[in-house]
């Protein structure tokens, strides 16, 4: 750890918005089209073209801002940010600078039981750039290819205050932010695919001392990579400071194969972006009525829902987190648990069996599950009231998944009802004990494992339908008499 030094981390997240069309033109944002087929003169920056703001992108931005407790700037405007790069069709990006959409929010996180509030500096809208494909790596490529399909896709940039102090907090912040944008349906939060990206700014300072030199870290394409990269940087900067070395203000790229950050270029001087207000776009003036409408339409957010699951359904912290990882999953769980006497059991089934069989945790995938929430609840009820054993229930679940039927229908049709009658089972137990006298001897000699074998034999003889509880108590009773 850094000991004498306090770590100061700020995170910049770019989230691609789930609008149907781009930020400033009507081209589709659907992922995976052939190169340069989802472009038009506007998003390719052809001469004479002009941008027109996508209303839904603005509403998504406002909704997100409200969910992270920001103040929405009623008066906000777009600005041009200039730099030359082949993935930038106009060699300026239309973004927001002095008057962003929203400012001064916060996100509450929890790490090892400790709660922390991470401040959010600002949230603004901008357009994404195209994709560059290098022949090999950026360092060795003799040429690169450009695909502008992605150019112009709406981005929401969320900048945290430098309140984050550890790599774990960074992970928690990112997970919390992701959960919110996924819940709101404004972004699909997929870091691996690039629909959510994160850059970090990290510096070290002596406790109570002046801020250290900031290093920017990029190219971290998963939550895990963010944490690893930050851990590496903390170690690197600590070592440097301890040996009297000067920290260079620069941009470093995370190399996941080498598990280290590598200097990209010595950026002693900041870019001169030559910002000025976008003359092609009149400013925005967000009406209070719109803000209120969007605020009222906010769903229960992940943190609140997690809390409620812990209180009402008595789930532990971990289960509550997994159950609320997506709105679809949380809705499914709640639908199943609301009338159940054992929400904990429901949670186990949802988080283990249901999650195992659905193709994803998004709403569409969850809704596509053939096992409907009410039916899952029914299955759990049959276990609770002893109709079937837990083991049989797993089979029943598989059958429910394949047919979409409810549990009771399947159990009755296939005669899977648990046998719990002591008389009937007693006879079977006697038979097993008689057949396996040697094993009984082993058990009496002290081999406790022999009991498991005998239980197994009873289950086999009853095709798994014997109630394990009754079998165990019968065996215990009879063995003690032998």
């Amino acid at each position: 750890m850094s000991g004498a030094y306090e770590v100061v981390i700020g995170l910049e997240v770019h989230a691609q918005l789930l609008t149907r069309t781009k930020m400033f033109c009507g081209c589709s944002t659907v992922f995976g089209a052939a190169p340069n087929t989802q472009t038009c003169p506007v998003c390719q920056g052809m001469p004479g073209t002009l941008p027109v703001i996508n209303r839904r992108a603005v509403e998504f931005g406002i909704t997100t801002a409200l969910a992270i407790n920001c103040t929405v700037n009623a008066d906000n405007r777009f600005a041009r940010k200039h730099y030359y790069y082949p993935d930038m069709p106009k060699n300026y990006q239309i973004s927001q600078y002095e008057e962003p959409l929203a400012v001064h929010g916060h996100l509450d996180i929890e790490v090892d039981g400790a709660a922390r509030r991470i401040g959010i500096e600002r949230l603004h809208l901008e357009e994404d750039v195209g994709k560059l494909i290098h022949e090999g790596s950026l360092e060795t490529a003799q040429s690169s290819q450009v695909d502008f399909n992605r150019a112009g896709v709406p981005l929401m940039e969320i900048v945290s205050k430098p309140d984050i102090r550890t790599s774990e907090e960074a992970g928690a912040y990112l997970r919390g932010l992701r959960a919110i944008v996924v819940y709101l349906g404004v972004c699909d939060g997929n870091m691996e695919e690039g629909s959510m990206r994160c850059d970090a700014n990290i510096s070290l300072r002596l406790h109570g001392g002046e801020l250290g030199t900031k290093v920017e870290v990029k190219n971290m394409n998963s939550f895990r990579n963010v944490q690893h990269a930050l851990e590496y940087e903390i170690k690197r900067q600590t070592r440097a400071l301890e040996t009297g070395e000067r920290i260079v203000q620069e941009t470093r790229l995370w190399d996941p194969d080498k598990a280290q950050t590598v200097s990209m270029r010595s950026k002693e001087f900041a870019h001169d972006y030559r910002y000025f207000p976008e003359p092609d776009l009149p400013p925005l003036n967000i009406e209070p009525a719109l803000i209120e409408r969007l605020r009222e339409s906010l769903p229960e957010l992940p943190a609140a829902r997690r809390q409620r699951f812990r209180e009402v359904y008595v789930l532990n912290a971990h289960d509550a987190e997994v159950a609320t990882q997506s709105r679809g999953l949380a809705d499914y769980f709640e639908e199943a648990a609301k009338d159940s006497s054992n929400p904990k059991a429901i949670a186990n089934w949802v988080l283990n069996e249901v999650l195992r069989v659905v193709p994803g945790d998004d709403e569409k995938a969850i809704r596509s599950c053939p096992v409907k929430p009410a039916n899952l609840a029914g299955l759990v009820t049959l276990i609770e009231d002893g109709t079937i054993s837990g083991k049989i229930a797993k089979d029943v679940f598989e059958k429910m998944y394949r047919s979409g039927e409810d549990a009771r229908t399947i159990v009755l049709r296939e005669g899977l009802t648990q046998v719990a009658d002591a008389g009937a089972l007693g006879a079977v137990v006697d038979g097993v004990l008689a057949e396996h006298a040697k094993v009984v001897e082993d058990y009496k000699a002290g081999k406790k494992a022999a009991l498991g074998f005998l239980v197994g034999q009873v289950m086999k003889a009853t095709a798994g339908k014997a109630s394990p509880g009754v079998v165990n108590s019968l065996l215990a009773e009879k063995l003690s008499k032998l």
């Binding site: 069309t21 390719q44 027109v52 996508n54 839904r56 030359y84 040429s143 290819q145 003359p279 776009l281």
Partner: protein, 99 residues
């Protein structure tokens, strides 16, 4: 002579920002001409603009937006037709060296 409004170093810096290759002769001429223009523009400094809001848009308007409805993109061939260096379905550019 009055102090120059723009130095050669600044001309170099601005030319780099603007990605313009200028010959030495061009740079010197540019420096002189810009100097003259900037001196002329200096008369603005004398004007008191305290409390005057800037005008970014000649005719005030707000909230001009469009609905999130798809419009057809142009065919790939049309978009690539003017490419100075086309590589299949892509635009190709020379190697990128970070500055």
């Amino acid at each position: 002579m009055a102090e120059p409004k723009i130095t050669m170093k600044e001309v170099d810096h601005v030319a780099r920002l603007a990605r313009l290759a200028l010959s030495d002769a061009e740079k010197e001429r540019m420096r002189r001409e810009l100097d003259g223009i900037l001196s002329y523009i200096d008369k603005l400094r004398a004007l008191d603009t305290e409390g005057v809001p800037p005008t970014s848009h000649a005719v005030p308007m707000t909230n001009v937006m469009r609905e999130d409805e798809p419009a057809p993109s142009l065919p790939q061939a049309d978009m690539l037709a003017n490419a100075p260096d086309r590589s299949g379905e892509f635009f190709r550019v020379p190697r990128i060296i970070e500055e």
